[in-house]
């Protein structure tokens, strides 16, 4: 996954220099091929180096893929099985005692479909940190309920909206939508006005909700 | 709380005194609607109106479609035809669906010529759903609520 910052695109024309508007694809033009496609834009995150980042890297080694910062907000990307372990370590050793949010983002075209994001805050340090992992459709990440009780409803909502099941959650059911609803609305393949027609017909006795 | 205050219900009487103080008729602020309609602010986001040039009665709208693009609910439909003489677009129909409108004001902000404006009219009730979809004439004249006399 290309998350590291790439240098400016391969077609950057030489700065200043050539007064003529030379086509900025020298190699391709010479070879006579079509212009190479632009790389997909990625977040311009820069590496984050601090005592906390070093401690985490030391403790978790390979399981942390990167520690970066973007716009002054620090985040780390880790392997899915390490996420709850990191949350627990941060709570016990680094004073990050407040779980602000758990959420997910759906990237359907990516190999690992979902971004699972934990946002933590430390009262003592007055610092916020984001922990991101990439998981596949069908993966069952570990539940964070035993570390922070807040995770109960937050994970239920992620399950409801995205269909990500959490292993070890005491009560994994839908929270915002009715229990018998089919489908997970915040996935990108769920239409904006799509509804579970079967549920609407059975429970509301009308043909359609629209 | 000391015993005397407790027995003589001093705290409860204190609260009751506040209530009795407010019984003074000068504190009545009920608005007797519909006999007196409230005066809303100048910037109030109420019924939409298509403004018309007061001198020649022509519409100010230039059919640029910016309001339709700005609307979050996409409920404005603007059609226009090209006038061959002046080589400009002229407005033919303008449809505004007030049933879905959330009166956010984005269309009013987007209009470059101040043709579309949200006025202070707030009595927009109709008896049918179709009546909520306003055409150009309704937009230029505005809603005409029945004045009730009590």
């Amino acid at each position: 996954m290309a998350d590291e910052q790439k240098p400016d695109g391969p077609q950057a024309s030489p700065p200043g220099g050539a007064a003529k508007p030379a086509p900025p694809k020298p190699a391709a033009a010479a070879a006579g091929h079509a212009a190479p496609p632009k790389p997909p834009a990625v977040m311009a995150a820069t590496p984050w180096d601090s005592e906390l980042a070093r401690e985490l890297k030391e403790r978790f080694g390979e399981r942390i893929r990167e520690t970066s910062t973007y716009l002054g907000q620090n985040f780390i990307v880790c392997q899915p099985d390490a996420a709850v372990a990191i949350v627990e370590y941060l709570k016990l050793e680094a004073d990050f005692d407040y779980l602000v949010d758990i959420t997910a983002v759906d990237w359907p075209k990516r190999a690992e479909r979902f971004d699972l994001v934990y946002i933590l805050y430390s009262f003592a340090r007055n610092e916020r940190i984001r922990i991101k992992t990439y998981i596949n459709d069908g993966d069952r990440p570990q539940s964070a309920v035993r570390v922070h009780a807040t995770a109960n409803w937050l994970e239920r909502e992620v399950f409801d909206m995205f269909g990500i099941e959490f292993a070890g959650h005491p009560d994994l059911r839908r929270i915002l939508l009715p229990e018998e609803w089919d489908g997970h609305p915040l996935r990108k393949d769920y239409g904006i006005i799509q509804q579970d027609q079967r549920w609407v017909r059975e429970n509301l006795n009308i043909e359609s909700g629209q | 709380m000391n015993l005397l205050k407790k027995v003589f219900l001093v705290d409860l009487f204190q609260g009751l005194w506040v209530t009795f103080r407010n019984q003074n008729p000068k504190f009545i602020y009920t608005e007797q609607y519909p006999a007196e309609r409230p005066k809303v602010a100048e910037r109030y986001r109420g019924a939409p109106r298509l403004n018309v040039n007061p001198e020649n009665g022509e519409t100010l709208c230039i059919a640029c479609n910016l309001c339709a693009l700005a609307c979050p609910e996409a409920l404005i439909v603007v059609t226009s035809e090209r006038n061959e003489e002046t080589r400009r677009k002229e407005l033919t129909t303008f449809t505004y669906d007030t049933s879905r409108c959330m009166f956010c004001g984005l269309c009013e902000d987007a209009c470059p010529v101040d043709a579309l404006e949200l006025t202070q009219d707030f009595e927009l009730a109709t008896y049918t759903r179709e009546g909520q979809i306003w055409d150009r004439q309704m937009l230029e004249e505005g809603p005409k609520p029945t004045p009730y006399r009590c």
Binding site: M43, L71, V105, L186, I192 | -
Partner: protein
């Protein structure tokens, strides 16, 4: 004569259904009771779920702005502030100082309006019918100012990404000063009605205790956390929109019960007046809109920005994929997270206290369900 065992009740499941005058919206609480004692509860929410986060993925950044007002509909200005700050963070722009000052004034006025509604409805739930009239009378004055400024009383859409749309109207400063002068004695009036009233104290003291550790465990923020003794307010800890320029105190409580939360919120209203007075006195001149292009297209990235809404920490996690529409907007609603702690606070208490505790959490179902 029926046998005495006939009266042996097993657990009674009582449904405090979605239609209930005291649940502050469509909240269903399933109570398991043993006589009058509450053994456990379960909250069923989702009756007001409108899919705001899904809508965000289908609108442009500026078009989504009116939708956020409708989440916490009693304090719409704060929602707008949080969203605008989050998108401004992604764009890496800051609103100009005049815009920031006006934003602070309107947000604090909004905090007062929200707390007034809280006080009125909380008192009404507990049985004191008079405060609701007085609170709404003051709230009316605050809503009049919103109406004069942006055109709407409740779903204000007051801020835009990058600053403000409207310049302050003529007489804005006089109106704010007049409101502040009028309002402080009224807070004393509410206190006169309630604070030392034995019925009020009896119904609120010692009810719904949620200690500081429990608050942090459940992720509860806002006045509930402050009543537990934690002196933490995002306006001071991570100031935004120029809050570091103003002097104000953070009220805290000691016993973490419902009575302390009431006192904390009353004091917060007074501090809000203090902030408003300072902001109006030092209102800078200048532009009201920052350097934001006509089309808002932030770079690829994500940001999480949170503000101190009247109900707690309201956060927006916005993910951008470089286009004009946000890729994902996650709203971290304070009422949703605070509502989780209801079970902890209510269990073991009496059923009459359930209503008081729901009221003291200050939830708005529009925010819980989005």
């Amino acid at each position: 004569m029926p046998d005495a065992t006939f009266l042996d009740s097993t657990e009674l499941v009582l449904n405090m259904g979605p239609q209930h005058p005291s649940t502050h919206g469509v909240l269903r609480v399933i109570l398991k009771l043993d006589g009058e004692k509450v053994l456990g509860t379960e909250c069923v929410i989702g009756y007001l779920h409108r899919g705001v986060e899904k809508i965000a993925e289908n609108r442009t950044y500026a078009q989504f702005n009116p939708y956020v007002d409708r989440m916490d509909y009693v304090a719409a200005v704060s929602n707008g502030l949080g969203y605008c700050l989050a998108v401004e963070k992604l764009l890496n722009v800051e609103a100009p100082p005049r815009a920031q000052a006006v934003r602070v004034i309107l947000t604090e006025l909004n905090r007062i309006a929200s707390h007034l509604l809280w006080l009125g409805t909380h008192a009404l739930d507990i049985g004191a019918i008079t405060p609701v009239f007085y609170c709404f009378r003051e709230r009316e004055e605050a809503l009049k100012i919103f109406e004069k400024y942006c055109g709407a009383r409740l779903t204000t859409h007051a801020f835009r990404i990058g600053g403000l749309q409207y310049e302050t109207y003529d007489g804005f400063e006089q109106d704010i000063r007049a409101f502040c002068d009028m309002f402080l004695p009224k807070v004393d009036e509410y206190e006169e009605l309630l604070t030392n009233n034995r019925i009020w104290v009896g119904r609120l003291k010692g009810i719904g205790v949620l200690t500081a550790d429990e608050c942090k465990e459940y992720g509860v923020t806002g006045p509930v956390l402050r009543a537990a003794g934690v002196k933490w307010d995002l306006r001071k800890a991570q100031p935004y929109s120029g809050y570091d320029k103003y002097e104000f105190d953070i009220p805290t409580g000691r016993n973490a019960d419902t009575y302390d939360r009431y006192l904390v919120r009353m004091e917060e209203m007074r501090q809000s007046v203090r902030i408003m007075r300072q902001a109006v006195a030092g209102l800078p001149e200048g532009p009201i809109m920052g350097k934001v292009g006509k089309v808002i297209k932030p770079a690829v990235g994500e940001a999480y920005v949170s503000i101190e809404a009247p109900k707690g920490e309201l956060g927006y996690y916005v993910v951008s994929d470089g286009s004009t529409q946000p890729y994902r907007v996650r709203v971290r609603p304070p009422s949703f997270v605070n509502l989780q702690s209801l079970d902890r606070m209510v269990s073991g208490g009496l059923v009459a206290d359930v209503v008081a505790i729901i009221g003291t959490l200050d939830i708005v179902l529009g925010e819980v369900d989005r």
